[in-house]
């Protein structure tokens, strides 16, 4: 707030240059470690690159470090070692003031949904637009569109605690999509949805990916991973154990239990 205007403009131009003109990677991780206490590390020495427009599934058993990985990307977890660049922002050395800017250019579906309990479904989704300073007209056109995409228009005046679990999850997805982010991150977006609705969400993700948005999804949902055949990065004990450009949920073809 106290820095001169031109320095600010210069900084923004530089960031734009970094991101657009030099055509940087969307995500650039090198030797990333997240250590909670001496003997517990959620991630250890992870190196991962994601280009613009990619669609990546993060898979792995529970506690493998998928959520931690995503938290690093939107800088919730910032007590990290190693190099992390997301959309040109250097996460570890980032000024707190720039964090909102980072988060506004991505859409995140949190594992616990993170809906505001005192706001209706409509207001929750609109909030993501408010935050980027959208005008009234924009909000009125874009919010119902996003709700419609996930099939929640009919509940737009309900409060989150009046929704079923799967409905809340869909509202969270709508909020992450509404401001057309260039990076879409979802932590277990279909964990509470029945297989049919899950497939619906998966095809929405494919759609937005096809318009150029980078999509990163942590999931346990074998079905959608196997159906979409996108890049699969498998974690175990905080390490990447597999990185398969057209992967499946499991390595070997286990016979289906039925």
């Amino acid at each position: 707030m106290i820095e001169p205007h031109w320095i600010r403009i210069f900084r923004i131009v530089k960031q734009l240059a970094d991101r657009r003109l030099l055509n940087l990677r969307m995500i650039d991780l090198k030797d990333l470690s997240v250590v909670y206490s001496e003997n517990r590390s959620a991630l250890s020495h992870v190196t991962l690159h994601v280009e613009k427009g990619e669609f990546v599934f993060l898979v792995g058993p529970t506690g493998a470090g998928k959520s931690t990985m995503l938290k690093v990307l939107y800088r919730e977890e910032c007590d990290i070692q190693g190099m992390v660049k997301v959309m040109g922002f250097d996460i570890p050395s980032m000024h707190p003031r720039d964090v909102p800017k980072l988060r506004r250019s991505m859409g995140v579906v949190f594992q616990d949904f993170g809906l505001l309990p005192n706001k209706t479904v409509f207001e929750n989704v609109a909030f993501a637009l408010r935050v980027i300073g959208a005008g009234r007209r924009e909000i009125r056109s874009k919010t119902p569109e996003a709700l419609d995409m996930v099939g929640m228009t009919h509940r737009c005046d309900a409060f989150p605690n009046q929704l079923s679990w799967g409905e809340q999850q869909r509202v969270a997805i709508a909020r992450a999509l509404v401001n057309r982010p260039s990076l879409f991150i979802a932590d277990e977006p279909t964990g509470n949805l029945d297989p049919d609705t899950s497939m619906g969400i998966a095809s929405i993700l494919e759609d937005i990916n096809s318009t150029g948005t980078t999509v990163i999804v942590a999931t346990h949902d074998k079905h959608i991973v196997d159906a979409l055949r996108k890049r699969v990065v498998a974690f175990n004990h905080g390490c990447i154990v597999r990185d398969d450009p057209n992967g499946r949920y499991d390595i070997e073809e286990k016979p289906q239990v039925s």
Partner: protein
């Protein structure tokens, strides 16, 4: 900030207040009570100070003229003194009045002294009041200059009353400031505590807003507005309570017919009082939110 955003933030504050019924009520009642105590005590202290500083003494300097001074000379002297700087009133207590009073007193005391005295041996007396207490002593020194005031016999300073009064008002004023400030800080603390708890109860919401990309300013503004509103409404109610209580109190004291009751002079301007309370309340309220929210915004 764009107008739409600003309008949204106001709307946000309004909805927060409405949808968090219990917290809003708790915050407003706490502000009301605390401000009522603060306002009430400060109001009373100021009133007592006012009363104490107007209480003192029927006279401050007594000038006894020579017994052979004529009434004309006395009146001339009265005029001269009245014209001197710093003098509030000069009243003449004639020798006749003094003699009558003494005779009356004598009769009541059953001393029968005046009966044997031929004629009226008493002198005229001028009672002087000064505008400011600190001018009393210099004035006495001036009047004791017998070259300038040949008809003045003695100048008596009402030291005891004066000292007592000065000491008492000084005491009340000093104590008033200490107590007033202490209460101000205490109220600010209590209100701030309450507001901190209302913010604390919403820490998860604040966190979510941050994660969705809201700037600190964007999160803070509606909450500060909310604190402002609590402070405002609470103080207004508190002023009402204090003014009402003060009115009742005055009536009550007046009904007692004690010497104090005759001496309730100037009133405090209720408009100024309400305004002052509101300003203090609003400052504490909004600043309280500002301070409370910092710790939750620190973790970006």
């Amino acid at each position: 900030m764009r107008f739409a955003t600003l309008a949204f933030l106001f709307d946000e504050a309004y909805k927060n207040i409405k949808r968090n019924g219990l917290m809003s009520i708790a915050a407003i009642t706490t502000v009301t009570i605390t401000m009522a105590i603060l306002g009430g005590v400060d109001y009373s202290l100021y009133r007592v100070y006012q009363v104490a500083s107007t209480l003192p003494s029927k006279f401050e300097i007594q000038v006894f003229l020579k017994t052979n001074a004529t009434r004309k000379q006395t009146l001339a002297l009265q005029n001269t003194i009245q014209g001197m700087p710093g003098v509030k009133t000069v009243s003449l207590f004639t020798k006749e009045a003094a003699w009558a009073e003494m005779q009356q007193e004598d009769k009541e005391r059953r001393t029968f002294l005046t009966a044997d005295v031929p004629g009226n041996p008493l002198p005229d007396r001028l009672d002087i009041k000064m505008k400011r207490p600190q001018d009393i002593h210099p004035m006495c020194l001036t009047l004791r200059n017998s070259a300038r005031f040949p008809w003045i016999d003695t100048v008596k300073e009402d030291n005891e009353t004066l000292n007592r009064m000065m000491a008492t008002t000084r005491l009340i004023a000093n104590l008033g400031i200490v107590i007033g400030l202490f209460l101000l800080v205490a109220s600010a603390f209590v209100i701030q505590n309450t507001i901190r708890l209302t913010v604390y109860a919403r820490r998860r919401e604040i966190r979510i807003m941050q994660l969705v990309g809201a700037t600190s300013r964007f999160i803070r503004f509606p909450l500060i507005l909310e604190g402002f509103f609590y402070g405002c409404l609470g103080s207004l109610l508190a002023s009402g309570i204090v003014l009402f209580a003060a009115e009742q109190f005055s009536n009550y004291v007046r009904a007692f017919q004690t010497p104090i009751s005759e001496q309730l002079p100037q009133e405090i301007n209720p408009f100024v009082f309400v305004l002052g309370m509101m300003v203090v309340g609003m400052l504490i309220g909004s600043f309280g939110v500002f301070l409370s929210i910092r710790r939750f915004l620190k973790r970006v």
